[in-house]
């Protein structure tokens, strides 16, 4: 039995559900094919940072557009997604680190974006009273925040379903064929056909791209997180380390979630990843150094998720270079969550009208020449 649609989205993470939702809102019939369950991987287990701060320059326009959507996320998906405007602060411990932030602030201001504000030690310690003494200053994005990743992904899924999207879970895409302007996708639950194919396959997206004849140097990674027992409230904004790999936030229930980019071991074939505790030991040292109150914290749980990165640490977003009617959004290198709402809108606009007014040129898949080096 072949199911037909206007678009087939491979991957039921946040980006896949977002693309499906936006397409459905433009009147398209969409089927999402998800090999596990929605939000099973990166989308459901990331740190939940809703961040514009310190993004790579090409991402800034998209991130700012996404932030507008986050501030009205209830209108978009009918759920607040646990979004809190807490601010995000990057902490410079040294003069050299602070100079780097100063240069960054100037760079962003020159592009006419005002969300990143250089702050001196006084303002830094006003924002972060529990910070260890001696830090020089920081960079703050006051209207940034964090949300609940699994809730958010499921909210997008629910909104997509309400808009008529069919979400097939535990369903694996096995093969792709294009003939006569139609994609035929063989899945573990039968055949699908649609004129448009959208690759939101996360760490597995390179496999989908390969089936379309496109090779990308996508590297699977398994960022790790840990969370503590509840602690007396001591920090409001999300904190990012400058000289050290650190990112952490304190949730409303008092638990502290610690990330920062240390990586475990991904296993794409088994859809799993494992934690490398040696690296978590480093995170434990780092967070205790920057915030002495954390030395008394108790770690209760660790986890890792499967994401993927490209050599320039920015994603691929845009049309396939080799096939008509195929579009990509993958390789978010551990910072795709905040972009989820807008990337889906961009893809839907591209598919529907052929153009998008957000600058996605830097994310073209064509920047990866056959030698795998960014053009």
């Amino acid at each position: 039995m072949t199911r037909t649609a206007d678009a087939i989205v491979v991957g039921g993470g946040l980006h896949g559900c977002s693309a499906a939702l936006h397409l459905a809102r433009r009147g398209r019939k969409v089927v999402v094919v998800e090999k596990n369950s929605v939000g099973r991987h990166a989308s459901g287990v990331n740190a939940g940072g809703v961040r514009r701060l310190l993004r790579a320059l090409p991402e800034i326009p998209l991130s700012c557009a996404a932030m507008e959507m986050w501030h009205h996320i209830g209108d978009l998906v009918g759920d607040d997604c646990g979004f809190k405007v807490s601010g995000q602060v990057a902490v410079a411990e040294t003069a050299a680190g602070f100079e780097g932030l100063r240069a960054r602030a100037a760079e962003v201001a020159a592009l006419r974006y005002g969300h990143e504000e250089l702050i001196d030690a006084d303002e830094l310690y006003r924002l972060l009273p529990a910070l260890k003494p001696g830090c020089v200053g920081g960079l703050v994005s006051r209207a940034d925040g964090f949300a609940s990743p699994y809730h958010t992904t499921m909210a997008f899924r629910a909104a997509a379903i309400r808009a008529g999207v069919v979400v097939l879970e535990d369903t694996r895409a096995l093969g792709f064929r294009r003939a006569g302007g139609t994609w035929s996708v063989e899945t573990s639950a039968g055949a699908l056909q649609a004129p448009v194919l959208v690759n939101c396959g996360g760490a597995w997206a390179a496999r989908v791209a390969a089936a379309l004849g496109e090779t990308v140097p996508l590297e699977p990674i398994a960022p790790m997180m840990m969370v503590t027992a509840p602690m007396a409230h001591f920090v409001d904004p999300v904190v990012i380390g400058v000289e050290r790999k650190l990112s952490f936030k304190q949730a409303a229930n008092g638990t502290v979630v610690i990330g920062g980019g240390h990586r475990g071991v991904p296993d794409l074939d088994n859809d799993s990843s494992s934690v490398d505790f040696r690296k978590l030991v480093i995170s434990a040292t780092t967070v205790g150094t920057l915030f002495p109150v954390m030395r008394g914290a108790q770690l209760v749980r660790s986890w890792s998720g499967i994401e993927s990165r490209l050599p320039d640490d920015i994603p691929v977003i845009g049309p396939s270079a080799t096939q008509d009617g195929a579009f990509h959004a993958f390789g978010f290198a551990g910072h795709g969550f905040q972009l989820g709402p807008v990337v889906g809108a961009i893809l839907a606009e591209l598919i529907d009208t052929g153009v998008t007014n957000l600058p996605i040129g830097p994310f073209a898949i064509t920047r990866f020449t056959p030698t795998g080096v960014a053009a």
């Binding site: 503590t228 027992a229 509840p230 602690m231 007396a232 409230h233 229930n253 008092g254 008394g296 914290a297 108790q298």
Partner: protein
Amino acid sequence: MLQRLDPAAATLRLFFEGAPIAARPGDSVAAALLAAGADCFRTTPLRGARRAAFCMMGVCFDCLVEIDGIANRQACLTPVAEGMQVRRQHDAGDGA
């Protein structure tokens, strides 16, 4: 409600919420608290519900107390010591 088979053996003294209680060397802190009639070891983060030791073998974590200034200690796995200061743990964001 809990009686010692050999009350004379309770020769050690520790403190719960500042008040002295007797214990036998080798007792767990949980056993000593229960023998002293304590019916609240901690309160829960969500609703502030009162909890006391439940499983006595380190599985349930309902016996979490603060011992000598350190929070999140399982009372049922910690042997008593002379002069120990044990306090209730109020988990609603009140860590070490």
